[in-house]
Amino acid sequence: MTRTRTPGISRRSTLALMGAGAMSVAAPWVARAQAKTVKIGMPTILSGRVAQLGTSSRNAVMLEVDKVNAAGGLAGRQIEMVVRDSKGAPQEAARVARELVNTDGCELLLDGEASSGSFAVHEVARDLGVLCIHTNSEASSLTADPKQHIPNAFRCVRQGIHDSIVGGSYAAGIAKAKGLKKWATCSPDYAYGRDTTGEFTLYLKRFAPDVEVISESWPKLFQPDYTEVVTKILQAKPQALYSCLWGGDLTSYIDQANIYAMFAQMEVFAVNMADYTALTVVKNLPKGIHSGNRYIKTYPSTPENAAWGDAYKAKYNEYPTNWSWQNATAVMFLAEAAKKANSTDGKKIAEVLAGLTIKCPFGADGTVTMRGDDHTLVGYAIGWGTTIPQEPYVPEVKAGDWKTIFELEAEWKKSKGYT
C-alpha cells in the first residue's frame, strides 16, 4: 500500500497556521475595538405593570445611541448599551446598577427607574461615584432636596412641580373665563398623586382665588373599578375635575366614567392624558379633556419633533412615550457633553453637563438646559391643550411660561426648606 499523503505541510497545520495568522492580524483590532467602546449601563423596568414604559425608554435610548455611534461615538468611542431589568424593585435596581458598574465595566449610568428605584440607584451613584443621569423619576425631591445632591448625578426628566405650576395657571385661566368655581379632584393614593394634586390646587387657587375644592377622591393605585369614585364625583356636582391618574388607571377611569356621561357634565383636567399610551388605548376618547403634554409629536410643533416621533414610530411600530423623549434627551446631553469635554470620563462630563444648554427637539424654544445649581432639566416643552378623539389628539397646546415656572419654583423650594 502506498501512502497517499505527500510530505510537506498538512491540511491541518495549514489551517492552524491560517488561523494563527488571522488571529495575529486581528488581535490588535479586537483589543482596540474593546478599549474603544464605552459601556453605558441602564437599569430600568422591563417586566410588570409599567414594562411598556421601560421598553419605550430602552427604544428611545437605542434610537439615539445608533445616531451617536454613526456620527463617531462618544468622544470617538462607540457606545455599547447594557440594559437590564430591575422589575421595579429598589433592591434589584441597586443590585443591577452595582453589577453594571462593578462587573460589566459600565463607565456611565442611565437610570431608567421610577420613584423608589431611582432613589436606590442614586445611592449607588453616591457610593461608587459613577456619572448617573436619572431619566424617568419625576419626584421633585430627587434634585430639589439638597440632601440628595451629589456632583455626579443629574436628572433629565420633567418634574411634578413644573407640571403643577403650568397646569394651575392654565386651569385658572379657564376657570375664570368659564366661571368654574366648584372643583373636585380624583388622583391615585400615593406620594405622586397626593403631592401633584396638592400642588396643582395650590397654584389653581393662587391664580383663581375664588375656586373651591368640594370633593376629593383617592382611588388606590392600579384599582380596577372606579364606579364608586365616579358616582361620588357626580353626586358632588362639581363644575370641574382634576385628576393625575395615569396609564392604565386613567384609561379605565375614562372608559368607566364615559358610561355615566361624566365628561359632558364638567370640565375635566387630566394632566397625564396627552400621552400616546393613554390616548390610543381609551375606547371613546371624549372631546375637550384638558391635558398637559406628556409626549406628543405635534408639540412642540416643529419639524424636528415630528421627524423624531415618526422615526421612532417607523422603527418600533408604536408612538414614543413621555419616558422616551426624556431618555433620548439624556443621550443627547451625554453626546454633547462628551464632545465638549473631549472625553468619556464621568467627572469631566459632569463638569460640562452642569449648566449645559443643547439643541433638542423637545425644548420649548428648541433648546433644553441642565440647570447648574440643582442638576435638573429645565426649558423643555411644557403646555396644556384639549383633546379630540382622533389624531393628532391634542391639536393645539398652550405653552407654559418658563419665567413664571422659575419664579414659583424658587418660592416652592423655599417653602419646603430646600433653599
Partner: protein, 339 residues
C-alpha cells in the same frame, strides 16, 4: 434515687454528651465557614461576588428564620416579610434621625421588632393553618400601608432617602465595601448558629412536637401558645437582622421590603431549598439569587424561567433540593448497610 431513675439518668448521659458534641461540631463548622467567607476578598477582587454574599446574608437570615416557623413549628406565615421591612426601616430611621452608633441602632431595632412581633404574634399564633397565614398577611399589609401613608416619617413610597449614615465603630467602617461584607458574613454565621441552637435545643424539639401533634404536646403539659409565640418573636428577630443587612447594602429602606412579595420570595426560597433540613433555606437562597442574577442578565422574561424551575421542584422533585439530596443520601446509606 430509685433503680428506675438511675437507669434513666444513665440512658440520658450519652444523649447529653452527644448534644454537646454536636454543638461543638456546629460551632466548628460555623467558624470554618466564617473563615472561608471572610478570607474571600483576599483571593478575589470581584465586587459582584461580595455583593452576592451580602445579599445572600440578608435573604438567608430571612428565609432560615421563616423556616423556624414553617419547617419546625408548622406555622406557614405569609407575612414574615413585615419583619424584614421593619428591621430595615427601624434601623434606617434610627441612624438617620438619632445618629447613634451602629451597634446601638442594631440592638434598638431588635428591641422594637421584639415588641411589635410579640403584639402581632399574640394575636396570630392562636390561629391555625390558613387563618394564621392570612392574618399574618393582613398584618404585613397593615405595616406596608402604614409605611406608605406615613410619608412625613417614612418617606412614603419613595422610601428613606438621603442614604443611611455609617459612623465608624470599633474600627469597623461599614461605608467600606469589604468591612460591610465581613460584617454581613459575621451576622449571617452568628444568626445561623443561633437558629441552629434553637432548632436543636429541647425547645426546638418541643416545636417539632407542636408541628406534628399540638394536642398531644398540650396534654404533655406544654404551653403551646407560649411556645409558638416565643418562636414567632425569635424568627422575627432574625428576619429583622436580614432587613438591616439589606438596608445597609442599598443604603436606604423602601416600602417594597415590607410588601407581600418579600414574604412570597421567602416561601419560594424554602420550597427551592427544602424545609426538612436546617440549611435547606440557605441552599434555596443561593439558588434563587443565582438564578435571578443569571437569568436577568439575559432576558426580561425571567418570570417564565423561575416559574419553570419551581414547577420542576414542585412536580419533579416534589421537595426542596437539600431535602432531595438528604433523602437520596439516606437511601443510599441504608441500601449499603442492607447489603
Amino acid at each position: 434515687m430509685t433503680e428506675l431513675e438511675a437507669g434513666r439518668a444513665q440512658a440520658l448521659l450519652p444523649v447529653r454528651s452527644g448534644a454537646a458534641l454536636q454543638r461543638y461540631r456546629d460551632v466548628l463548622i460555623a467558624l470554618i465557614a466564617f473563615a472561608v467567607l471572610a478570607s474571600l476578598p483576599m483571593f478575589t477582587g470581584s465586587e459582584a461576588l461580595l455583593d452576592f454574599v451580602i445579599r445572600c446574608s440578608a435573604y438567608g437570615l430571612f428565609a432560615t428564620s421563616l423556616n423556624l416557623l414553617v419547617g419546625y413549628t408548622g406555622l406557614t406565615s405569609f407575612g414574615h416579610g413585615m419583619f424584614f421591612g421593619l428591621g430595615a426601616y427601624s434601623f434606617g430611621l434610627i441612624m438617620q434621625k438619632l445618629g447613634v452608633p451602629i451597634p446601638v441602632a442594631f440592638v434598638a431595632t431588635l428591641a422594637i421588632t421584639a415588641v411589635i412581633a410579640a403584639v402581632i404574634g399574640a394575636i396570630c399564633v392562636r390561629l391555625k393553618d390558613i387563618y394564621f397565614a392570612f392574618v399574618t398577611l393582613a398584618f404585613q399589609m397593615l405595616i406596608h400601608s402604614t409605611i406608605l401613608s406615613w410619608a412625613s416619617f417614612t418617606g412614603g413610597d419613595q422610601g428613606l432617602r438621603g442614604g443611611i449614615p455609617r459612623p465608624v465603630f470599633l474600627g469597623i467602617d461599614l461605608a467600606n465595601h469589604v468591612h460591610l461584607y465581613v460584617a454581613s458574613c459575621a451576622l449571617l454565621i452568628l444568626g445561623l448558629l443561633a437558629m441552629r441552637q434553637i432548632a436543636q435545643s429541647p425547645f426546638g424539639y418541643t416545636l417539632r412536637m407542636i408541628r406534628d401533634n399540638a394536642a398531644r404536646a398540650s396534654f404533655l403539659g406544654i404551653d403551646v401558645w407560649r411556645a409558638k409565640l416565643t418562636v414567632f418573636v425569635l424568627a422575627a428577630l432574625f428576619a429583622s437582622m436580614g432587613g438591616m443587612v439589606m438596608a445597609l447594602f442599598v443604603s436606604g429602606a423602601y416600602p417594597e421590603f415590607a410588601y407581600w412579595t418579600i414574604s412570597g420570595e421567602g416561601i419560594f426560597i424554602n420550597m427551592l431549598g427544602g424545609v426538612s433540613t436546617f440549611l435547606g433555606p440557605m441552599v434555596g437562597t443561593v439558588l434563587l439569587l443565582l438564578l435571578n442574577d443569571t437569568v436577568t442578565r439575559f432576558t426580561e422574561y425571567h418570570g417564565i424561567v423561575l416559574g419553570v424551575v419551581i414547577l420542576f421542584f414542585a412536580l419533579g422533585l416534589r421537595k426542596g433540593l437539600l431535602d432531595f439530596v438528604a433523602e437520596w443520601y439516606t437511601h443510599r446509606r441504608d441500601a449499603g448497610e442492607g447489603r
